[in-house]
Every structure is written in structure tokens, then in C-alpha cells.
Symmetry: C2
């Protein structure tokens, strides 16, 4: 009863800040630069980011859900949210000009939040963790909010079930924290231990894994930043002035107008005088990267911990799946089109292509349409070296996926050859692409399912299944699915330059005209 | 001098019989049902079959080169030979109705050969072995022919360099064979030994690996078959009567007309009375499968052996490549688009897709456009189980390759979806497909390189790069490359049935009208 009262009273002051700037390489080749781990569906029914948003549904209003990400990823994140429906459009996205780890990202969100609601409470969550128990999570969150209301920094600790050396630990002081709620006083944060120490922590009982989920007042975290990270604090203050002090680049502080693309990221105009947003972005880029754990939590004496009653995994690598996903009786996790004879403790992530395995032991094998990885579990840390080598070799195509998701559907590059490129383009019912033009390529479209409404050079006509049309270069055109079924076309491009940046947009449902 | 004399005198009586009926599964997924090992380029500059033919070039005239294969594979073999040019068309193909191992296949070839040249000498060679040293091979062949002229069965023995348990051995009797040439008397053939026995054989010095290459007179092998395999002998005599005794189904014995499709394989006509060719095929199918080694060589007391001076591998499995292909300093064989960190003694066969490997040990990883295999070297024998499982599951698509080679070029299925199929079709300069018609699909063709000459419903027109055309269902059409450059088209098929057998051919450069 008390709980539900708290929820109702405070919901307007509660904000969820989801950190979605990570672009890790640890799940390559499934994760790519434009499709980081949070956008993958590796466990559960949806992608990790959308699961994260659903996890707090009903707990805070959708407009109080904010996502902090980098400018590079913001548009993809926006597209990625589309399947959530109307909720997606209420979510606010804060763009960092560049990633500077979690303390600056949280500080930036706090700067924005303070101007909307000085008394607000921030629930800070990573976007790429697995937490299957939503109800338990929300119940624990209520305990944490109570701690935050007492002006404390609150974190969530996970009871270890193994001597894990890959996580930081939180030591709680049970003596000093005899409270009726679940809140425990944190004695200290400790770095990733070696194996004997981890075993000691496990048997001690007062050590928890650091989950990376935090709850605090906006004002509290800003004052802690001032105390422990004064340089970050002063940069944030500068940025705050740029953002919210009336000037010729922006409007006076009006929370309702605080929507993306935010002021921080206005493109640097090519005039001689640097614009304030550009200065602002420059200042942010100069911040030293530092994590909230290391920068604040380890230094503050004012931290409480809720021992989590939910299951949790940070999905730090392919081997983390062993703790989350169901295995067959030989310890294997076999996903997709696989066929196995006698493997043990092996994880195979396949798609539509067939992956056949015989007698593998403690291996990870991941297949995607254009790249396959095979690695023993004990060496998954080295996957990043593969990504580095690809960059060095200039094989950057393996840092993008062949299928690119767009708000109107998706496209898949089926083949690239000399002077041509073939795509399958899928358009959702009722959706349309932007009115656009290509300078250096023509396009043949063959409709293989559904009906296409095509606009070409001002003329509009229908192209039905099994019909085709031709779009010459330098011709304004638009593709639309007017029906209720999926529209699929095969696009054969011809030209001497076939990259995605040969596009001029004139009208777009998704606000991409200027991009 | 003596050698060259022999070559000149006997070349018209010399015939090479290449056994190409094998459709093994040991190189899956690179080998498939319609692309067995002999059609793969796994070592050297060309496929194993074409290497085999080149190996005897200049030694016998092309028209004296015969290939024995099964009816199912004959057409694909014929297409496969095309790159050899005019030589390809001189080669004769003998079709077995079904494969019955080497003794019946050699017996069948001998039946045909006796009618062309009763005094002929047969050089019998597998089509899928690696022999890099052509000159040495031909020199050894001359020794063997001398033995055959003395009416002996002659085989080639490979000096062992390791205690291999995967091969049969030949024991020679050095005492009784003090001859000026290289011919040694064979004491006996022995089965695959266990490891201690193999070590004993290696140190003994009188044991050789059985290479599966034989030289004998046609009349000699037929008389040995009569002695040791009387049942096979009598069936072959029956077949001989069917084939060469004048009757309403065939012409009197005229060697010049003995060309494929041979009489043995005329389709069974649906009349009540069985035709002689059909009876003939039925009789062949009833033969018990038996190898020439087990059926004749092990039983005959009349065998000589040439110790091979050439390198040789039977390429019995993926691990056989370790003996043939060059390795990097960590013992790895990395082919195609690979990236590796710290693997050892590992073989990776990649194509255009990227295969990334980390820390693999003693593994084989093979990638093809639609299937990937990962297996430890010590378990490569189990690959056949994968193929069996695929058959049982009905996943037969993995028994064919996505790219199908045709005499006019090739086609690759890029994608199959509901109601559509996309192919890239490549047509050699000057080549054309058959005049054909599809009942249940229409086709859109987009020319992406070269120029296409299209015949549609009697009308002929040119389709240039970046142009397209449409072939409705039930419309006679033909595609031709009239230019000197490669013609590439993207074909988008639409229809409710999109299999290859929806085709009616009216005119074909490759004699496939009746097929």
C-alpha cells in the first residue's frame, strides 16, 4: 500500500535514464558498429534496449523515459524504437557528441533534467543487460527510490552464485544498516578480484556484484559530481549555460521544447565565429572519460544498496549466455539452422544459413550473412582484436550488417558486383520512403510481393506483384506501400557509384530531409 | 629412346579409363551430390578431374580418354569438361546406370573397349587423386605399360613416409624381381593395418601404399574377371550381347558410333515389353558392388608394381590436405577470406564470406555460401553423418550448391522467398541458353554487365547494361551473349512454382532438348 502510494505520488518526478551509447565489439559478428549489443535480440523476446524500456513500462510515464546515446547512433536508436509504437515517440533522446563513459553521460542527462524538474529522481539503467523478472525489478526499484528520497545514492547488488572474476563487487555493512526496508549500507566498492579473492567474497556473504543500475536525485548526483569530479562539474556548468541561457541560438528554457535533435548537436555552421552549440560539443568532447562507478560510487560515503531479488546478467561476452540461456543435456546452446553431432558446452548462433558442427568442446560459433566467427570460450576476450584487424585491413564492410533496419521497413544487400548492387527492400504496410534522388545510379524495381505506389518525376502509378519499373538517375522518386500486406521489391542498382550517401531527400516522414 | 618409341607405337592402342562415378560426402560442404570431389579445385590450379585429364595429355590421343561415371552425373561431367576446349568433346563418357564400385565399372569399360581394339591396353585412373608431378607420372606409366604388354596386371605403389592406417598396402617380393626396369613382383595386397602393423610396414621397406592406378590389357582384365568374379563376367557378357549384337534398338557394332548417350542408358520406354537397353541397365544394377582391388588384385597371382616416383594423395578427407598443401608456420592452411588469431594446425576453407577464427587447434572449418562446417581433425570421418542427417531431415538443399555451372556459364541462386527467386546468371561470350519456356513463372531480367540478345515470342532484340526486359510465363524465350565481354543478368522469377524442372527446351546448343 505504501509502495503504490509512493509510485503514484512520485511518478511525475521519476525519470528513467537509459545509457545506450555503448558500441562494444564483444558480440561481433552479431553486433556491429551500427548494431551494438543493445539492439540485438540475443536473450528473450525482444532486443535488449526494447526489453529495457518495457521493463519500466507502467512505472514511469513514457515521456519520462530518456535515452542517452552518441550522436552517431541517435538516428538508428530512434528507428530501433519504432516497433514500440506510440511509446517510442514519447521517449526523449539525449545525444552526446561523442561517448565519454557513464559519469559524463549521466551528468549531461542531469543537467537537462534539473531544468525540467529540480526535485526529480533519476533511475539510471544500462540498455544492454538481461533482467528477465520485471515485477521483481520494479519492486526492488521502489526500495531504491525510498533511499534516493533520503538523498542517498542507491545501487543494486546481485548476490553472487559463483566466484566470478569478471565483475566489480560491492561490500555491504550489515551491522550499520538495520532498516525495515531492503536498503543496506555500502561499505565500499571493490575492483574485479582474482580467483582466490572472488572465492573469499562468495563465501563471505557480504559481497555483491555491481549491477550498474543506480537511483538518485538529480540534484544529489550533480552535487556528488561537484565534490568528486570537479572538472567534469565545471564543464557541465558551462554546457548548461550554453543550453539554457537565452541567446540567439536557442529559446529560453522551456522544458516542452527540450526535444531531439538537442541543442548540443546542431551541426557546426561554417561561419568564422564558432556557434555556442559547437563550442558546447567541443567542450563535451574534451571531458576525460570516466565511469560513474569509479568516478562517484567508489568515492562517495553516501551509498546504499538494494540486494536484487531479480535475475541479472550484464551479457559481457558470448560466454555470459551460458548463465542465461537454456542448454541441452550436453551443455550446448544451439540457435538457428544448426546440425550438431556430439558437441559439448558449445554455443552456436546461426541464422538461416546452415551451421554443421561435430565434436566441438567449449566453443562459440556465430554466423551472420557475411561473416562467421569460431572461438574457444576461454578466448572470447580476443574478439575485439578481430574487429581491430578488420579496421586496419580496411575490411570495414564487416562492421556493418547486410540488413539495415529503417523506420519504414528494412533493406538487405543481396549482392554487390562491378557496377551493380542488388537489394531486397521490405516496406511496412502504410509506410513510405523519402522522396529522393540519386545522382549516379539508376534503379530497377521488381515487385515480388504486395503492391507498390511509385512516384517518379511527378507522376504516380501502381506497380503490382510481378511488375517492374525503372528509375533513371537524377529523377525524383518515392516508394510507398499503400496496401495492408508487406511490400517486397528487388532493387537492382546500376551506376559507377553505389554508396548510400548518393541520396538527396526532399520530403521524409522521418525528419531526415536535412541529414 | 626406347621409351619414346614405345609411346609412338602403342598410343593408338592405349586408352585411359578415368573412374569418375564417386559422389563421396567426405568433402561436404564443399563437395555436394551434384559437385563431387573430382569436380572441386581443392589442390592445384584446376579441378581434380580436369587435372587428371591434363595429366595424360600428349600421352594418349584425346579420343582414347574415356570417363566412366553414373548416368546421374554424366551431364554435369560433360559440362564440367567444357573449359578443356576441343579436347573435352573428344572424350567419351560411359554411363553406368548406377554405381557398382570399380570392378564392374572397369569391366564395363573393357566390354566397350574390346569392340574397338581387342589388343588395347587400359590405363585405369581415379578422377579425384592429387598427383602434382605430371612428367614423373608419365615416365612411370611407361614402365607399367611394358608390364601390361607382358600380359600382367600392373599397379602403382607409393613409398610410405608415415605409418598411415588409412590405406591398403602392397607387399613386393624383391627377391624374385630382379628386372632392368622398375617393375617389382607383388607378393600380396594387404588390408588397412592397425597402427603397430603400419609402423612395421614402414620400417620393413617392402610395403607400398596402393594408389588405385592400374594398367593392363583389356583382354587380360576380362579374363581375370572371368577367373575371379565369374558372376560379374557372365553379366558383362550378357550386356555385351545387348550392346553389340544387331537388333532393332541399336546399330551393328561400329566403334565410331559408340558415343554418349550410350545404349545402356536409353530411357526405359513405357511399353509393355522391356527394351533391351532397359534390360541391360537392370542387369547392371543387379551386379554386386565390388572393388577391383578386392575382387581382382588381391586374388590374382599375376600382378606387378611400379614404385611411384611421383607425389600422390588420394585426398580421402579434409585432413589429407595436410600432406599436400603448404602450411603457415603455425601449421595452418588458410584459404579465402579469412582472419585468424593464434590458431594452430587448423585448416580453414573460406570463400568470399569472412571466416574469423581465434585460437583453434587441430580443427577444420569449411565455408560455402549456404553452409559452414566446423569439426576437429580427428573426427572428420563423421562428416558423412551430417550428410545422412540432412537427408533424413529433408534439408536436401544442402546437397546442392547455390552456384550451378553450365556449359554456357553459370547461375547462382541469390535468394528464394515466397513466390519469387533471384538468380545471377553469367553467360560466356558467344554462348547462349536453350530456347525455352516456363509454364508457371515469369522472369524479369536486368542486365548488369555486357549486352544480352533476347529472343521472346519470335522477336529478337538487344538489352544493354542497365536495361531490363520481361518474359511472361508460357512465352518461348532465349538468352544469348553476342558480345566479347561477360554478360551478367539479374533474373527475378515470379510464380507459384519456381523449380528448375519447369522448363521446356526447343533448341539447345548442348543437346539437352530431350532431357
Amino acid at each position: 500500500m505504501n509502495n503504490s502510494k509512493l509510485n503514484t505520488d512520485n511518478s511525475k518526478l521519476l525519470f528513467v535514464v537509459i545509457l545506450a551509447g555503448g558500441s562494444g565489439t564483444r558480440f561481433w559478428p552479431l553486433s556491429r558498429e551500427t548494431c551494438p549489443k543493445q539492439m540485438l535480440q540475443i536473450v528473450g523476446e525482444d532486443t535488449l534496449l526494447r526489453q529495457t524500456i518495457k521493463r519500466i513500462e507502467g512505472f514511469v510515464p513514457p515521456e519520462n523515459t530518456w535515452i542517452v546515446t552518441t550522436e552517431d547512433m541517435a538516428q538508428d536508436i530512434r528507428f530501433h524504437l519504432e516497433p514500440l509504437g506510440p511509446v517510442a515517440r514519447s521517449i526523449r533522446i539525449i545525444n552526446e557528441p561523442v561517448g565519454r563513459n557513464t559519469a559524463p553521460a549521466i551528468g549531461l542527462a542531469a543537467v537537462y533534467l534539473r531544468h525540467i524538474s529540480p526535485e526529480s529522481i533519476m533511475i539510471v539503467m544500462p540498455s544492454d543487460h538481461a533482467i528477465p523478472d520485471r515485477d521483481q525489478f520494479q519492486a526492488d526499484l521502489k526500495s531504491a527510490i525510498r533511499g534516493a528520497e533520503e538523498n542517498r545514492l542507491v545501487t543494486f547488488g546481485i548476490k553472487p552464485d559463483r566466484p566470478e572474476t569478471g565483475y566489480g563487487y560491492i561490500k555491504v555493512d550489515r551491522q550499520g544498516t538495520i532498516r525495515p526496508d531492503k536498503l543496506l549500507k555500502v561499505e565500499r566498492f571493490v575492483e574485479k578480484p582474482d580467483a582466490p579473492t572472488a572465492r573469499k567474497y562468495l563465501s563471505d556473504g557480504n559481497y555483491y556484484w555491481n549491477s550498474g543500475i543506480f537511483v538518485f536525485k538529480t540534484s544529489k548526483i550533480l552535487s556528488e559530481i561537484q565534490t568528486h569530479l570537479p572538472s567534469l562539474s565545471s564543464t557541465l556548468k558551462e554546457i548548461e549555460v550554453f543550453l539554457f541561457k537565452p541567446n540567439k541560438f536557442n529559446e529560453p528554457n522551456e522544458p516542452n521544447k527540450l526535444n531531439e535533435p538537442n541543442q548540443l548537436n546542431k551541426p557546426n555552421k561554417p561561419n568564422k565565429l564558432q556557434s555556442r552549440p559547437a563550442l558546447c560539443a567541443m567542450r563535451y568532447a574534451e571531458i576525460d572519460p570516466i565511469s560513474i562507478d569509479y568516478g562517484i560510487m567508489e568515492r562517495s560515503s553516501d551509498v546504499l544498496m538494494v540486494p536484487a531479488s531479480f535475475h541479472w546478467s550484464d551479457l559481457g561476452s558470448w560466454t555470459a549466455l551460458d548463465e542465461i540461456l537454456e542448454k541441452d543435456r550436453d551443455g550446448n546452446i544451439l540457435k538457428g539452422n544448426t546440425i550438431d553431432i556430439g558437441s559439448r558446452n558449445t554455443t552456436v548462433f546461426a541464422g538461416e544459413r546452415l551451421i554443421a558442427t561435430i565434436g566441438l568442446k567449449d566453443m562459440v560459433l556465430v554466423d551472420t550473412p557475411d561473416a562467421t566467427l569460431a572461438v574457444p570460450k576461454e578466448r572470447v576476450q580476443e574478439i575485439r582484436k578481430i574487429v581491430e584487424t578488420l579496421k586496419r585491413r580496411g575490411q570495414e564492410e564487416y562492421l556493418l550488417h547486410k540488413t539495415v533496419v529503417r523506420p519504414w521497413g528494412s533493406y538487405t544487400v543481396l549482392e554487390k558486383g562491378g557496377g551493380y548492387k542488388i537489394k531486397r527492400v521490405v516496406i511496412h504496410p502504410g509506410s513510405k520512403l523519402s522522396l529522393q534522388l540519386h545522382r549516379r545510379r539508376s534503379e530497377h524495381w521488381v515487385v515480388v510481393s504486395g503492391n507498390a505506389k511509385v512516384t517518379r518525376d511527378g507522376e504516380t502509378y501502381l506497380v503490382r506483384t510481378n511488375e517492374s519499373t525503372f528509375i533513371p538517375a537524377n529523377t525524383k522518386h518515392r516508394l510507398e506501400n499503400p496496401g495492408e500486406d508487406l511490400l517486397q521489391i528487388i532493387e537492382v542498382q546500376n551506376g559507377d557509384y553505389l554508396e548510400e550517401d548518393d541520396i538527396e531527400r526532399f520530403d521524409d516522414d522521418y525528419g531526415r530531409v536535412i541529414i
